[in-house]
Amino acid sequence: MKELRLMKGNEALAEAAIRAGADAYFGYPITPQSEVIEYLMRENPVDRTGMQVLQAESEVAAINMVYGAAGCGKRAMTSSSSPGISLKMEGISYIAGAELPCLIVNVVRAGPGLGTIQPSQSDYFQAVKGGGHGDYKMIVLAPATVQESVDYVKLGFDLAFKYRNPVMILSDGIIGQMMEKVELFEQMPRTTEEPEWATVGKKPGRDSVIVTSLQLQSEEQEKVNLRLQAKYRVIEKNEVRYETYMCDDAEYLFVAFGSCARITRKAMELAREKGYKVGLVRPQTLYPFPEKVINEFGSRMKGILTVEMNAGQMVEDVRLAVNGQCPVKHFGRFGGMIPSPDEILNALEQKIIGG
């Protein structure tokens, strides 16, 4: 039977973590995502599933606890918001280098620096282009609803273990703080598997397992990098996810992700009422990016407008995908400001249709 609830985004995500069979959560409070750890502490999942929850002394410690637990083959996760994610970047690079699976949630707030606690999408570059040091990629999932926040926890863990790679849910303060109707999936058992790459104690007859990102010989380190790159090509082939709205007859196209895509959808409806044939592509994975479909739309659109709560980040990937076939412009509000549908419509008329 469907289990429907009205829940706050952060709390729904926390409940999803328990139900997804997570083994451990390590976190540190920061607005606007503290409800994740608050919910988990209140819910005390050790009694429900045996899941461990620990408030760490810092974001740095939390991500390294995730590393330790993930290295044991467990489903480990953390959550934070932008300044805290910056602190985690060291650990994320090590996790990517050691090829450990884990889930990291970023409920984005506006920066730079301490910025503000209001929602933003200004961590797009950090999430999809690296953030930490070295050539690595996280799989980045961008929920637009509380429902997707829940579903992506399960999907995120599955992808993390499928590819032994860190997965980030790039949410924002709107999705984290708002309440919506959500359908919860049933409780999944915690895994009892012991992957052969996990440090669970050296069994007789096998070599000891070493979890490391260190290869001092350049020839060996290049091999590690080549293996990672080969993995990323497979991820790019298999894991692209996106939704399209009213693109069949469209002459103009919006590209927007997360909460901003919902506002943009309203702007699209307003534009349609005015007679403009506008569609919308909403990438659900920001890495891998839906490059192919945007390239195809680029060949038959008169113009594309990305709408983002940042100063123009995803627009760079859209331009790369379109590769000059049509004009690509950006409209954004930032610093915690949220664009209105009217503003977006106005930007479409100014920058694309009249441009």
């Binding site: 083994d23 451990a24 390590f26 461990q52 620990l54 760490a56 002394e57 810092s58 740095v60 410690a61 939390a62 390294n64 606890m65 995730v66 590393y67 330790g68 637990a69 993930a70 290295g71 044991c72 467990k74 480990a76 060291e90 650990g91 090590y94 050691a98 440090t199 669970v200 104690g201 050296k202 069994k203 007789p204 000891s208 397992v209 070493i210 979890v211 490391t212 990102s213 260190l214």
Partner: protein, 255 residues
């Protein structure tokens, strides 16, 4: 009597522990790491917990410790070993978990992780090698470098007025309610090595009790970093390090 004839089981008085691999140690001649490794591996062997032990290597000279201990191990980022060990122990509470860290790793960049893991009373063993210098990066000043001691970043000697004081982190750790057993030892003589062995054994046995963090500091020499011969460095350690970092138990379990 040929050499071969005396290699018989009844003549065996000493052998390499099976918990150390056959890899050649990369440590400098005369350095204390090799002895410290051997003692810890030997204790793991004696307690029969090789299959149940997970180690965490640091960044520093012992970054490659996982090549030498024949147990499952994870390599931590600089200073983060206690956090990594926390993650391991929380999901595998029945395993024996240890970190092996130097002074820069444990008492400078990883001070927060060290103190908070100990303050939470994580049921892990922290082995702390204190040689008062950054060995791997080439002899820079460490948090535990003595006042007046020369290093490549304190070439005229550590001036505490501008460079700060050496950190007695072990005494600090002992004050925390989360620690169960805190001791400071050395491995530069057979007698001291035996005491360190006993300390490591106690610490791992205590881990079964779930009473808190056990912390074993080993004051060690660094002939290369100190620019001395191994013999000179041991003498210097006795004359200068031990007065500042006195050997012995600092916190023992209440009877």
């Amino acid at each position: 009597m040929s050499e071969n004839n005396i290699i018989t089981p009844e003549n065996l008085v000493y052998e390499k522990t099976k918990v150390m691999t056959d890899r050649v140690l990369h440590y400098c001649p005369g350095c204390g790491h090799g002895t410290a490794h051997r003692l810890l591996a030997d204790v793991i062997d004696e307690l029969g917990i090789q299959e149940d032990t997970i180690g965490v290597a640091p960044v520093g000279c012992s970054v490659l410790a996982y090549y030498y201990f024949d147990v499952d191990m994870q390599e931590a980022a600089h200073g983060r070993a206690p956090a990594v060990a926390t993650g391991i122990k929380r999901v595998l509470p029945e395993k024996y978990v240890f970190t092996y860290q130097g002074d820069g790793d444990l008492a400078a960049i990883g001070t927060a992780e060290t103190i908070h893991a100990c303050n939470r009373g994580e049921n892990i063993l922290i082995v702390f090698i204190n040689n008062g210098i950054y060995g791997m990066t080439g002899g820079q000043m460490a948090p535990t470098t003595l006042p007046g001691m020369k290093s490549s970043t304190s070439p005229r000697g550590r001036d505490v007025a501008t460079m700060g004081n050496p950190l007695k982190i072990t005494e600090l750790i002992a004050e925390l309610p989360g620690t169960y057993y805190v001791t400071r030892q050395s491995v530069h003589t057979p007698g001291n090595a035996r005491k360190t062995r006993r300390a490591l054994k106690k610490a791992l046995e205590y881990q079964k009790l779930n009473k808190g963090t056990c912390f074993v500091e080993i004051v060690a020499n660094c002939p290369s970093g100190w620019k001395m011969t191994p013999v000179q460095s041991n003498k210097w350690m006795e004359e200068h390090m031990f007065p500042f970092y006195p050997l012995g138990d600092i916190k023992v379990p209440e009877k």
